[in-house]
Each structure stands twice: as C-alpha cells, then as structure tokens.
Symmetry: C2
Subunit: 261 residues, 2 copies
C-alpha cells in the first residue's frame, strides 16, 4: 500500500556528543537521502527524536507522500530495529537570487570574527561535543560567560558558523547549524544535557558563500521543557533558516536563575 | 511490522474556508484521536498539509512510534484515498499548576474586549471563514485596518479568542486557535489565500479558563513563502502555545508593500 525505499547508513561516531549522535547530523543525513533533482532543497523539516540512536549501522526509510510540481512531501524514519528519529519534510527549489519582498528584523550583531574564539569540541571533564569538530563555531564571548562560571542570565547565545573543512555552507548544512549552538540553558547556569524532543527547521533560502551568523534564544522554561529558537543569517545578511525546538531540561536542587545584568 | 489503528471520521463542512476544511480543525481532530489516558496532552505537534481534503468522510490512521513514561510519540495520517495531512506529535502530561522557571516577554497588549469587534465568518463577496463560526474572535482593529482598505504594513494581527459555545478552552482548542487568526499578509494588503505547507505547535501548558490572547507575526516574505508565528496566552497571562507555519502567498502584478506608519 505504501512505497518505502530503505537505505543503509553508518552513523559516524565523530559527530557524537558523548556517545549520542548529534541531532542536526542525524537530520541532515536523513533528509539528504530523500531529496531528488526536481525538489532538491528542504523547505520545512519537522523531526521528532523518539529515542537516541547509537553510532554505527542504521536504516533510513523514505516514503514519498506526494510529488507536486512546486513542492513534494516525504516521511523519513531512522531506525535501529526500533524507530529512533521520525521526520516529515517538504522540499522544493529555492531561487538562488531571491530577495525579500517584505521583512522585519535583522541579523544578530556579533563582534568581529577575530574577536570570537572557536568553541572547543573537548569539554572540561573530557566529554566530546562531536559537532564542534565538524562545525567551526566562533562564539560571542558575551553570551558564553557560563564557560567561566558567570552566566549572563539572558538565555541567548550568538556565534559565527562555517564548516570545519572551510567549504561554503550547503542548504543541508543549515540543518546541522540550526542545532549546533550550545543550549541557551547554559546561559542560565544550567549545565546539564538538553535533549531535543522536536525540532522544526524552516529553510528560507540558499546560503551565500561565507560565514553564517547564528543566534539562539528561549522564551520560557516551564514544567521541564524549554523552547530554543535559532535563526541563521548568511554572509549577505539574508535570513536563511528559522528553527525552533522543544527540549527537556533538569534543574539541580537549590538552583535559582541568575539576574540579567 | 507496523501497528496502525484506523478511525473513520466525518469532516464537518461548517469548519471550511470556502470549501477547504480549516487546518487547525483538521489537526485537532487528528490529534484528539491519538491521545491516551497516560499521555493526554499534546506537547509538540508538526503537521505537513500535503493536499487539501474535502469535507465529508475521511480516515485517520494512528501509528504509535514509542510509548515512554513521560512522553509518547505518534504519527497520524488523514487520508481520503490519498494522504491529505500527515502529522507527528509527542504527547505527555502538563502540570495544571506549572509556573515559569524563567521567561522573557509577555502577552500581547490588546484593547479591552468591549472595544474589539467580533470577526465575522462571512467575508465580503460571500466566502465563509468557517472557523469564525466556531471561534469567537475579537480583533484589535489597529491590526485589521485592511478590512477597510488601509493595511498598517506591519504584518501583525492581535485578537482575543474563545470557543463560540462559551466553554473554557481545552488543550486541543489551542491547536485550532494557533491557526485561527487572519493571515498577516492581509496587513500588507495581500488579500489572497495563504495555504499552510507546514505548521508546528508547541503547547507549553494547560490554558486557564477564560479568553485567550493571540498575536500573529511574520518575519520574511520571500520567494513565495512566508513564516507566520502565533503565540497564545491564557487569561492568567501564561504562554500556553507557540506556533509557526510556513505558508505560500501570491503577489498581484504591480503590488508594493505599504509603509508602516
């Protein structure tokens, strides 16, 4: 009744955070397999992280739900016997030279690249943040004072991003970048893991060559769940992706939120 | 291999916009069938509108992807022979008395209810906006000047919302409300239909009894696609849902954006 194509993949352990593969890496791997020549660009991608896979062999199943002229929609499942990540996505073709018909807001204001240190993949204590070996992330230190024990209390992180290999960003890289920044909970002094339950990325255009500017913010921590909103802007100052995730957080006994200065 | 439960439903024509069923109505119908006693509340809902169904008989298929202690995840498909709407959603249990651990921003500022007229279901020209017979929407007229030919050019709409039957809002009603406001393109003088490609709703808590305040905004119109962000705040001033959709728009020949005053 349904027509599903299955692909064998090998999840690369170098992308893992501790021993859990990075969510953006999983998503770009899944979506990359489901694109086609007629509809080569992701437009809206919605992923639910059902349970964390391990690095190593996995299967990606793709079901085409509709092939349209302008947009197609597919369902993609990553499984290791059980379903690990399930995603829906719509894909089409972005114009390379699109300009805004109407817009509001602008890219995040960042210090010059030379004033932004690269975020290390190795965390104190020895845990490896795998995506930071693949993504060259230069952070605005005003938003990463938690690294020296002085969180700003604003739940906001800003950074420059590019691929570690120096290549220009692809549209699939945006799915990685949209999930690459440190959790904004760090800026509130909550240093625990923030597992993604759901991540939606709306791609808005093809990224120009060069560095991408990223800002990640939250609006509400409540009842164990936080929203994290990430915007990606390309080197020409164009909004190229809007992402939001719902993620879990934990609060240590006795924690109180820092006051924003 | 997969365990799918199918339900027969009858899509109520009174919810249609013209002859197309309202997206939020479809979503709340689908999700309502997939909840269970252990995980009765939607948390993150992602829907891709593959093609528009007709009012009348349809089938809703539910596949449980994982049953967890705290969260379960399901896939839901609405079909009329072909797939019309496909959704993923994660569901759990919100605490009735949750309070923000940390938050930023606040509810939209609206004129008093008595100063906000009810949006009529009947549009000039005779097209019926079905959800406005089911949702009592009282609009901030500063954001609906397009109705008298004077769009403000801000791509923002604000309104009070409740059920037409006067009942207090349920958590499923939030899925309807998140897609109930007029397209923000109206505020730019673009009066055409804005079909939703993808809609994600993050429910953030159970709504208190009484009116819900809603604000809908856009950030970018480009290459035929617009983001519409909708926030819902309950009568106690709590953020109860964050939604964003990617939708299509069309521009008449010769259109230029109005200047915000």
């Amino acid at each position: 009744m349904t027509d599903i194509t299955a692909y064998d993949v090998d999840l690369d352990a170098s992308w893992s955070i501790g021993d859990k593969p990075h969510g953006g890496y999983l998503l770009s791997t899944m979506i990359g397999l489901a694109l086609d020549e007629e509809h080569p660009h992701p437009m809206a991608v919605s992923a639910h992280y059902v349970s964390s896979p391990d690095a190593g062999p996995a299967t990606v199943e793709v079901e085409r739900l509709r092939t349209g002229r302008r947009v197609s929609t597919s369902r993609v499942r990553l499984r290791q016997s059980e379903t690990k990540v399930e995603a829906l996505f719509s894909h089409g073709r972005w114009s390379a030279d699109a300009t805004p018909l109407w817009s509001t807001g602008g890219p995040p204001v960042l210090p010059p690249l030379d004033d932004c240190p690269r975020a290390p993949a190795e965390r104190p204590g020895g845990q490896r943040i795998g995506q930071l070996d693949h993504v060259d992330m230069r952070v605005d230190v005003a938003t990463t004072m938690w690294a020296v024990g002085a969180p700003a209390g604003r739940a906001e992180v800003r950074a420059w991003l590019r691929r570690d290999d120096g290549d220009d960003p692809s549209v699939l890289d945006l799915l990685v970048f949209a999930d690459a920044l440190p959790p904004v909970t760090f800026d509130l002094g909550l240093m625990g893991w923030v597992p993604t339950l759901e991540l939606t990325v709306h791609v808005r255009g093809l990224p120009a060559p060069g560095w991408v500017r990223a800002v990640q913010r939250a609006r509400l921590l409540q009842d164990g769940w936080i929203d994290e909103e990430c915007e990606l802007w390309d080197s020409e100052g164009r909004l190229v992706a809007q992402a939001r995730q719902l993620a879990g957080y934990r609060v240590p006994d006795g924690w109180t939120p820092p006051q924003a200065s």
